[in-house]
């Protein structure tokens, strides 16, 4: 009887001890496994973030290179198509001089040469300007618009009033496109509007950039027809690029107002 009881105790100790041991071992293994998994997951997450940052950096670098490449291509096209053809015309005109003897014809050729040379000078200026919008690059949009207005006011052909109120630092492409839009609008006013006064108002409100461009020129009878013109197509394309909206209002003798709204 005593022997049986002793045997039972031994077995009880054995079973309890073994169970405890197995429980301990299981806990250790489980802990190591779970902790290792957690560590690896964390490492993988960090890796993913690092990869993402690297990708973003590469993307920015590519975008910068693509932007530069595009600008160079545009300049090259401009040089070839515009300035190149003008120089060819100049060459042709100068070649015809020895063949002409009468003063009237010579005068006519000289006049043509002068005209083409003026155009070539203007084209050169424009190309140079597109390569270097230095005021815009160094001092921002407000300074660039003020500089543009200053240059126009100095010509005494038109009085330009500028009001720029921007607190947010604009991204490079937004500033550049906006500046080009204003340049184009100024060109149109100078070419067609016969305006005496020009107001350029750039302000920022509720995450939007508003440009109000108005002149007191002759205005237009049909805005839609004007909108189909090449100059405005460029403006519209730039506004669309910035995901903005453009509205034009005009009437004969009432000048022209252009309102542009761009989300920031």
């Amino acid at each position: 009887m005593e022997s049986q009881s002793s045997q039972l105790n031994v077995e009880m100790v054995l079973i309890l001890g073994t169970s405890g041991m197995l429980f301990l071992v299981t806990s250790i293994v489980l802990f190591i496994y779970l902790y290792q998994r957690k560590l690896i997951k964390k490492k993988l997450e960090y890796q993913e973030i690092e990869d993402l940052l690297k990708k973003q950096e590469l993307k920015s670098a590519y975008a910068m290179l693509a932007g530069k490449d595009k600008a160079y291509r545009e300049v090259a096209e401009e040089l070839h198509d515009n300035l190149g053809s003008m120089l060819v015309t100049l060459n042709m005109l100068s070649d015809t001089i020895p063949q002409k003897t009468d003063p009237a014809s010579l005068n006519l050729i000289a006049k043509k040469i002068s005209e083409v040379a003026t155009k070539a000078t203007e084209a050169t200026r424009q190309i140079s300007h597109s390569l270097h919008s230095e005021a815009l690059m160094h001092f921002g949009l407000a300074s660039a618009i003020h500089e543009l207005a200053g240059a126009l006011n100095e010509s005494h052909t038109i009085s330009v009033h500028v009001e720029v109120q921007i607190t947010t630092e604009l991204e490079g492409h937004v500033s550049l496109n906006l500046y080009r839009i204003i340049q184009e609008l100024v060109n149109n006013t100078l070419k067609h509007a016969k305006a005496k006064n020009l107001n350029i108002d750039v302000s920022e409100a509720k995450g939007h950039l508003n440009v109000i461009f108005e002149d007191d020129g002759i205005g237009m009878v049909n805005v839609e027809e004007y909108e189909r013109g090449l100059g405005l197509k460029n403006i519209k394309s730039r506004v669309a690029k910035l995901e903005g909206q453009i509205t034009m209002e005009s009437g004969l003798g009432r000048g022209t107002t252009c309102i542009i709204d761009i989300p920031l």
């Binding site: 045997q7 031994v10 001890g17 071992v25 998994r37």
Partner: protein, 205 residues
């Protein structure tokens, strides 16, 4: 029920041995050592079983001899997978000295319970050392995908399960009743885990 576990335990090494037979050539040296350990376990079980049924004599000398050889191979295996292999050799030395002492003092016809318990404790220590090593390494691998993880778990479960049995073997040796069930269960579990490890090695290869 007891017989079922006994036969299950004897035949359980066949599962890893079968996997081993499929791809023994593709295994690395460590896995080949493990295969020898499993093979030896199988031979020992079958040998003991056959010897007892044929002669009716005690098989403790087979158990002791097998455990001595198994100890050498197991510690050698751990010396291969651990960075601090000297620890493993030192532990092996302890067991060999203990075995020598027991062999001299009590002979081979008495089970060396204390030696086996000590061996189990030391193997558990080596398993924990292996986990520590994995823990401290910089390699980012999921443990469950590595063959060694399952193999070491097999070792640690078996040694933890049979530790108390060997420790108290002198008490229960005359009337084991259900106690041997634990060893059989541990052995089956160990061999299943070894098989899993070898299978994982096959997948890795």
């Amino acid at each position: 029920m007891t017989k079922l576990f006994l036969y299950g335990s004897i035949s359980s090494p066949l599962i890893p041995l079968f996997i081993m037979g499929l791809m023994f050539r593709s295994f690395n040296f460590n896995l080949k050592v493990l295969s020898v350990i499993i093979g030896l376990s199988f031979l020992s079980d079958v040998g003991s079983f056959g010897y007892y049924h044929l002669t009716g004599h005690s098989t403790y000398w087979i158990v002791n001899t097998y455990n001595l050889l198994d100890t050498i191979l197991v510690f050698f295996f751990f010396s291969r997978i651990l960075n601090h292999r000297l620890v493993s050799y030192f532990m092996l030395g302890i067991i060999l000295v203990m075995s020598g002492y027991y062999c001299y003092s009590v002979g081979v016809h008495v089970i060396w319970g204390e030696v086996l318990s000590m061996k189990n404790i030391l193997v558990m220590g080596l398993c924990v050392l292996y986990f520590l090593q994995v823990f401290q390494s910089d390699t980012e691998i999921f443990l469950e995908n590595t063959p060694l993880f399952w193999i070491v778990i097999g070792f640690i479960f078996y040694t933890a399960g049979s530790f108390f049995l060997w420790l108290m073997s002198s008490e229960i040796v005359n009337n084991p009743k259900y106690s041997m069930l634990i060893v059989h269960l541990g052995n089956i579990l160990k061999n299943i885990l070894f098989a899993l490890g070898l299978w994982k090695a096959r997948v890795v290869n």
